[in-house]
Symmetry: C2
Subunit: 340 residues, 2 copies
């Protein structure tokens, strides 16, 4: 509205009766300025409401921003906002050694259904000179990220490793977590254990692998009719439960591979007479308060984001070693639902 042109450093200098350079010195606390001029410049800056133009500054200093780019998959899933929360926590952590760092920001965008936009979004973020990038890979090829890392932009993949290139990555122990979860059910004597979850390129595959490994180790043959990595939301668990129940030899236990599957399964327990034992991948708010309380494999998006941000901060702090892989533990939280 008001066209009141944003005041520049030159305006401040004029008003203070000094040269632009002196004003710059004052505002950047370089010292070597007479106290009275310091006062005049400061006063002028306040009166004018001067705020430095970050673009001009960064253009001149060839610096990068204090911003970390975060590219997630569909933002509709609270899991990814949990990751963002973890990044927030890490970059604002006062315990890190680089105290007095400037305010850091998160520049976020999600690919939303169209994973082909992933490279575009990354490119746009690089144009905006983000100081680092966190990417949840959704495409089948992240080789374009390698070029970035070589250009000196720290890149970390989250939740899944990058395909086609070797960059830092933070992933959860999907395989091991699923395996331990299913083992818990096997230890209760179950031999017919269903797998229910949503389809996903990497993580679901890993969890299915863990599920199969646990069964194989126990000498149980995998029945593919029990494996349903096909749900879209909690509601879609209902029909799957029907099909499972209609089998000659229905499962006596269920491993739910994500929160949606778990919520859906709980709904089935309520509305149907079916009461299978249950272990869930990913903890959720209600798990400790429903009846029975739900035993889960803890999969913490916040921790994922936090560790990823820490890898980034390490690189920004000077680490130049080879790409690192961090695997976040997925410990079992034993509650009641795995008991027969």
């Amino acid at each position: 509205m008001s066209a009141a042109k944003t005041p520049t450093l030159a305006d401040v200098a004029d008003r203070a009766g000094v040269s632009p350079k002196t004003a710059s010195r004052v505002l950047n606390h370089e010292g070597n300025v007479r106290p009275d001029k310091v006062a005049r410049v400061l006063a002028a800056a306040t009166e004018l409401g001067f705020t430095p133009n970050e673009f001009a500054r960064l253009l001149r200093t060839r610096g990068s921003t204090t911003t970390i780019g975060v590219v997630t998959a569909d933002i509709g899933d609270p899991f990814w906002t949990g990751v963002i929360r973890g990044v927030e926590l890490a970059i604002g952590d006062p315990d890190r050694d680089d105290v007095g760092h400037p305010q850091r920001f998160i520049l976020s965008a999600s690919t939303r259904e169209r994973s082909d936009r992933e490279p575009e979004i990354v490119a746009a973020m690089v144009d905006r000179r983000v100081m680092a990038l966190l990417v949840v890979p959704t495409t089948t090829d992240q080789s374009y990220l390698g070029a970035l890392a070589e250009r000196g932009v720290p890149v970390v993949c989250v939740d899944r490793p990058a395909a086609g290139t070797d960059v830092d990555a933070v992933v959860a122990d999907d395989d091991g977590g699923a395996r331990r979860g299913v083992e818990l059910l096997i230890a209760q004597g179950h031999r017919r254990i269903a797998f229910v979850g949503r389809p996903s390129v990497y993580t679901t595959a890993e969890r299915i692998a863990g599920y199969r490994a646990a069964l194989r180790a126990a000498g149980i043959v995998v029945d593919d009719r029990l494996v349903h990595p096909t749900i879209t939301d909690a509601a879609s668990v209902g029909p799957i439960a029907e099909r499972l129940l209609s089998l000659d030899d229905p499962p006596t236990a269920v491993f739910t591979a994500d929160v949606a599957a778990s919520i859906g399964m709980l709904a089935c327990r309520r509305t149907r007479s079916w009461r299978p034992a249950m272990v869930a991948f990913s903890d959720f708010d209600a798990a400790p308060v429903v009846e029975p309380t739900v035993t889960v494999v803890h999969n913490d998006p916040v921790e994922l984001g936090r560790r990823a941000a820490e890898l980034v901060l390490d690189r920004l702090a000077g680490y130049t070693g080879p790409p690192r892989r961090v695997r976040i533990d997925t410990p079992i939280i034993e509650r009641e639902s795995h008991l027969a």
Copy 2:
């Protein structure tokens, strides 16, 4: 690592054998360039891997970014990430009339415990020339936002109105929602109804107001020993439940004012023999699947964020009217827990 200097427009122009301006024309699709030169420039840009320096461009064009700044309170609360999700959805909505808009981003930061940082963060975002600002007010005075709005930066407050200035705001119907929720309990014959929730400047006050209004309207005198806007997390509900139960005349129903209170209350129901009727403010994943299913006042952070972003987009599209207040409905979702 590799110091491979980022190629500039001049580099592209050199390689294509044209002037920088011509290269610029081509890259910005300004037209009026001979086809063969267009091809040469495009080829050179690709070969060099040229990406424009956004800072230089914005400096020159005096433009603002395509970024919306979002300042939230403590990012530890999933409610705020829900708001961010809503903003994401709105700014990426292909149904809006401004199709073909450039990739828009969210620049986010949270004040984390220290609400005094709110103005600093806003200032830093303005220095970064965000095209608009969404703020969840945490301080007691947002008059500094008024100046911003006058400078032409669209500002929208989310969840709570700004104090000390009149800017766009999107808030939930906290008062009405709480009132309707409590009325539901009164209709079931309850007259001793407790209020449990976390302290908060604005929203909790509104919800308590609704709670009181409902009681007053029913001729029930408010007993302050039943009002506990003091929890910090779900676990802190336990001691409060003890105190409520130790009263001569314990409540027969509870209104939980936020998700933490609701989860905490569910835990109390499990671990104690106390089974009060219950209505909760804010829906949560497990509400439809616990026993009994929880009747809630629906408070949708995603909708809050979405509407806020829409106000912003309206202003960016040219709306220059007076500040608007949007109140998001908080409809009751009747399930079972309100029944005695």
